[in-house]
């Protein structure tokens, strides 16, 4: 593995332009000042209750995601390119989903194998031949991006189902502005606080055509024991919409209502943070107590908009991901602005044998996994883990893809020994409405706090940073 590119120190020893001010600050600010601010940041997060439940960790149903106070900085030109690439990618994702559940031109043209779509667990046959309001499927996308050198950003994953993390993006900025006002006077940082407004505008823009001029939007949560509940309540609050659970909603004559202290109130748009499987026990998993019986039939009748649409998981799959460059070319007629990480599809025989021969160098991922669970990072794995993955791969090669172990870029980060480089990724949030695509500059930077670790997921001990896009 090559030496990682550090976003502050660069490759030639000279501090990179975006970080000059920050480096100077780091060099001059007294250590106890930093220590004080770090403990204040922690206190702040704990008081407001930003916690994250980690599944399988009985000790701590609520745990704080570590926050690193050194921001990650992107320049305006870097961001502009990313933004264009993101808009292109999400536009293609929406067109692809409309096609998969509609005319299926891309399958007819052989852009990707049919079985990858039809046998995909994220594919919802119920949606075939149906149109969704305004033909938008992925209203909220969280596109994971990694960087390997000054000019190369790769898309690592397209989170097209219910991406989370945006509350950390917003709260991180809030905390930074409170703790380090001096940094914000020295840097022109593009604001992110308009995200809730953009999200609300997006949701309202996709209300069903028969909805009133003032559509009622709600946020549907699985409830307070969900790992992202804090975010659900945070967003509902910032948007000024009701935070509902399945039991707060009911369907009568294919119309969705919520139970209020003044009787039933009609609901037009549901920003749902529940997976497809749990949305409606009548249509999907009958044992789901999180969903709303009859919701799918109201959806099919066109009386309610679900954000994201049902069935977007088919585009969020790591096997389909590997075809995204072709999908982008097919639907936009353009060359992809953002590239994929080179990917071996283990379903292909040659690729599989290459992967099996090079397991210690590769990252192997389950096609349908997420959150950093069920993946193998070859260079960091024990022999036993590698053999276990070898067995899994031979047994069900279709379920896996493999990628080279990238030298993810690093950013200066506070650790026990002082300031040290740690690997980062970036999750910008892309909002697709019926009127336009909206992106706030930046996104959520996740950082792997363990030395050398490449796994940034909060469920696996990752932390977060504020992300700055310099506006000058």
């Amino acid at each position: 593995m090559a030496l990682a590119f550090d976003e502050m120190n660069g490759t030639d020893g000279a501090i990179r332009e975006a970080y000059v001010g920050l480096k100077q600050w780091l060099d001059t600010v007294p250590a106890d000042h930093i220590a004080l601010r770090r403990s204040q940041a922690e206190l702040f997060f704990r008081r407001i209750g930003i916690t994250f439940a980690v599944y399988g960790d009985a000790e701590a149903t609520e745990r704080l995601i570590p926050f690193d106070i050194i921001p990650r900085v992107l320049t305006k030109p870097e961001w502009t390119k990313l933004e264009k690439g993101l808009i292109q990618r999400v536009t293609a994702l929406n067109a692809f989903l409309g096609d998969v559940y509609g005319a299926r031109e891309c399958l007819k043209a052989g852009i990707l194998p049919e079985d990858l779509v039809y046998r995909n667990p994220g594919f919802r046959p119920e949606m075939a031949g149906r149109r969704v309001p305004h033909d938008i499927y992925v209203h909220i996308a969280g596109i994971d991006i990694v960087r390997v050198d000054p000019d190369t950003f790769y898309v690592l994953e397209d989170n097209a189902r219910t991406p989370s993390g945006v509350s950390y993006m917003l709260e991180n900025r809030e905390v930074m502005m409170r703790l380090f006002p001096e940094l914000f006077t020295e840097h022109r940082v593009a604001p992110v606080e308009n995200y809730p407004d953009s999200l609300l505008a997006t949701l309202r823009s996709v209300a069903p055509r028969n909805a009133s001029r003032d559509p009622v939007c709600v946020l549907l949560t699985p409830g307070q024991f969900n790992s992202a509940f804090y975010e659900h309540s945070f967003l509902a609050d910032k948007l000024g919409i009701e935070l509902v659970e399945g039991s707060d909603l009911f369907v009568r004559d294919d119309v969705v209502f919520m139970r209020t202290t003044q009787g039933p109130q009609r609901v037009d748009v549901i920003y749902r943070r529940i997976d497809d499987d749990f949305l409606d026990p009548l249509a999907f998993r009958p044992d789901s107590i999180l969903g709303v019986p009859g919701l799918m039939s109201a959806y099919m009748a066109g009386n309610v908009t679900l954000c994201n649409a049902v069935g977007t998981g088919v585009a969020d799959d790591k096997a389909v991901y590997s075809y995204m460059p072709e999908i982008i070319r097919f639907f936009t007629g353009e060359e992809p602005i953002l590239n994929n990480v080179p990917t071996w599809r283990c379903r292909e025989k040659d690729a599989l044998s290459y992967v099996l021969d090079h397991l210690p160098e590769l990252v192997v991922k389950e096609v349908n996994g997420s959150g950093g669970y069920g993946m193998l990072v070859g260079p960091h794995a024990s022999r036993q883990q590698i053999e276990e993955f070898r067995r899994k791969l031979k047994m069900a090669p279709d379920g896996f893809i493999a990628q080279p172990t990238l030298a993810l870029s690093t950013c200066p980060t506070f650790v026990a020994s002082g300031v040290a480089p740690r690997h980062v990724d970036l999750r910008p949030f892309v909002l697709s409405g019926s009127d336009k695509v909206r992106i706030v500059p930046g996104g959520l930077t996740r950082v792997a706090l363990k030395e050398g670790s490449l796994v940034v997921n909060s469920s696996q001990g990752g932390g977060t940073k504020d992300t700055w896009v310099l506006d000058a």
């Binding site: 008081r47 409830g223 307070q224 509940f229 804090y230 309540s233 139970r259 202290t261």
Partner: protein, 313 residues
């Protein structure tokens, strides 16, 4: 607003109010229990505290004798007691978390801060003095929550439902004290020249933080019927049944006005208030203090159920 949100707000307030009530009962009981027998220390004060908390059945399942150690642990910390102070705070916090957006930041911080602080208390290692400080702390949490609600909430349905929880719970708590202690207030137990029950009466007043108020209102030494009058009918006394119902009626009316519709809970609350307004403490004693309190507790529960039916389901 969502019915579930209203329901959660209502119960958050009830649980916080209940925690404070338990703290006051424990505080007053500890004081009474230290008195020599000649001054009315009858030896069953701790049992009486469990009864007042309405937790006798659960207590009997877990403990044999009611004494300072068992009762304090049970009412303050025991996880098996659904209404222990610890459980009250934990349930309140869990309800608050579910409706985080309906609370103001100050209210959430009061509850969440209490929840985090609570973990620092270790019931096993607590000295008497530490326990007393713990009870003071519980009261301060309730005060902080109440004060932040009063100061920071919009005067709208969320506020009214939250307040309603406070007063329904408060009326229930005051009535329970009377229900357990009614016998010491009956006239035949009063003896000329100072009664052994004097300290029982002052304990009752302490349990509702009204010992000083009593003297301001009546300017007399403690008389059992005046203690009953203060707790039942006196509208100046914020924990009396009458004062609680004045508030309940007011908040239900606000809700009815906002929603443009009155219902069973408005009617029931008004009829309970009318009964409290149109009676004197003499009449209460004539018809039977115990019967009066019993039927009040039943009515208060009925109103709770009516509010739930009308708004919270």
């Amino acid at each position: 607003m969502l019915s579930r949100t209203a329901d959660n707000l209502y119960w958050v307030s009830r649980y916080i109010e209940r925690a404070e009530f338990l703290a006051r009962v424990l505080d007053a009981t500890a004081r009474l229990a230290t008195l020599p027998a000649a001054y009315g220390g009858a030896g069953n004060e701790w049992r009486s505290a469990v009864l007042t908390a309405g937790a006798a059945d659960t207590f009997d399942q877990h403990h044999g004798a009611a004494n300072e150690r068992t009762v304090c642990e049970f009412l303050a910390f025991n996880p098996d007691n659904p209404s222990s102070i610890r459980n009250c705070f934990e349930i309140a916090r869990s309800n608050a978390r579910a409706v985080r957006t309906a609370l103001t930041g100050e209210m959430w911080e009061a509850i969440n801060g209490a929840y985090l602080e609570l973990r620092k208390y270790d019931s096993q290692k607590m000295t008497r003095e530490e326990f007393a400080r713990f009870l003071e702390w519980v009261k301060s949490v309730s005060l902080a929550f109440d004060g932040s609600a009063y100061r920071s909430m919009l005067r709208s349905d969320a506020y009214w439902f939250s307040r309603m929880g406070v007063y329904i719970e408060r009326a229930d708590n005051t009535a329970r004290i009377l229900d357990v202690k009614y016998h010491v207030l009956l006239p035949e137990t009063e003896r000329v020249g100072g009664s052994l029950d004097y300290f029982q009466w002052s304990t009752i007043l302490r349990e509702v933080s009204a010992l000083t108020a009593y003297h301001w209102v009546y300017r007399e030494s403690l008389k059992p019927w005046l203690v009953a009058d203060l707790l039942i009918l006196n509208r100046q006394m914020p924990r009396s049944l009458a004062a609680s119902y004045e508030n309940i009626v007011r908040f239900l009316d606000e809700i009815g006005r906002k929603y443009g519709r009155q219902g069973p809970s408005q009617r029931l609350s008004r009829s309970i208030l009318t009964r409290l307004e149109n009676t004197t403490i003499d009449e209460v004693f004539k018809t039977g203090l115990h019967e009066f309190i019993d039927s009040f507790i039943v009515d208060n529960n009925k109103l709770g159920a009516a509010i739930t039916d009308q708004y919270l389901l």
